[in-house]
Symmetry: C2
Subunit: 150 residues, 2 copies
DNA sequence: ATAATTAAAGATATTTTTATCCTTAATTGT
DNA sequence: ACAATTAAGGATAAAAATATCTTTAATTAT
């Protein structure tokens, strides 16, 4: 559904939130391994999530540093991650790729998609990062005993 | 939601179906202009939809040739176009990008997405190409009086 | 002060997607 | 047979997404 960037962003956010709930900061290597994503690419995505006006994740440099999520940020909906990655269009835009998806200029899919869109939006808007992090569902493809991504 | 390829594929299929309903064959130029898509790229997509075991659209070379959709093909669900473009994964796969999206190995989004996925699949599976073509909703971005895509 | 550890930032590389062009084959009308 | 029109197929180009590497800055501990 989303790009790999956004998939990694969602997984990373949930992963960090879980560690932050036990007041543990995590570094890039831990995050990348924890979500089964390429390390350097994950680093780039974390810049997007931490930097900016976004402020979904926070970070501190140096030893004992790393990434974490503030209490208040973890209460925000996971939808904010999709916004930060600038991919709300994947849900919001016309299914046929036409501009101006609205009541006035609908395509053939507008009506049937209307309710689906609502449902899709609500699954990301109705749950906070914290709530999703609290579930102990997997965030990683498969158990890798000793992965070697240096 | 889908790739540009699939968006064009959906629009082209509906466009051709409309013309076929009045027994009119259309050529690449007419299709590309009719759906507001790049001509050569549209041609490549039509190969995917006509060629193969897919057979959603049919074509005939030479003067008075062009693309059309057979009666029986137009009764198939629009979902077949998404299958032909090999993008069912966009609906079917894990929202977080994890492999093996199923009851046994769910991610945090599995349950909330389950019903949305059903709705999403049904809007493409429950309507035939013909039915969608019969609606006279737009298939093109905006009215272009005299577009110049040579 | 120095060394070690961490993220930030910038540069580069690879792959995929999107888009275009050119040649060939099929069909039609003259 | 020949010219015109159309799609098919192959080659190439351009842009975007994905991925990696290198250097710099910040922080900590010694
Ligand atoms: S105009 Fe196509 S889904 Fe809204
Ligand atoms: S496992 Fe994630 S949505 Fe199915």
């Amino acid at each position: 559904m989303f790009s790999k960037s956004t998939e990694y962003a969602l997984r990373a956010t949930i992963f960090i939130a879980r560690q932050s709930s036990i007041h543990k900061k995590v570094n890039i290597r831990e995050i990348a391994e924890g979500i089964g994503a390429p390390k350097y690419f994950t680093a780039k995505i974390l810049q997007q999530l931490s930097n900016k006006n976004v402020q979904i994740v926070s970070s501190i440099s140096g030893p004992a540093g790393g990434f974490f999520i503030k209490e208040e940020a973890s209460k925000r909906p996971i939808y904010n991650v999709i916004e930060a990655m600038q991919e709300t269009h994947i849900i919001e835009d016309c299914v046929l790729g036409l501009p101006n998806c609205n009541e006035k200029t609908p395509c053939s899919m507008y009506k049937p998609y209307k309710d689906v869109k609502k449902g899709l939006l609500s699954i990301f808007k109705d749950k906070s990062i914290q709530e999703i992090a609290n579930s102990k569902d997997r965030l990683i493809p498969i158990k890798i005993p000793n992965s070697k991504k240096p």
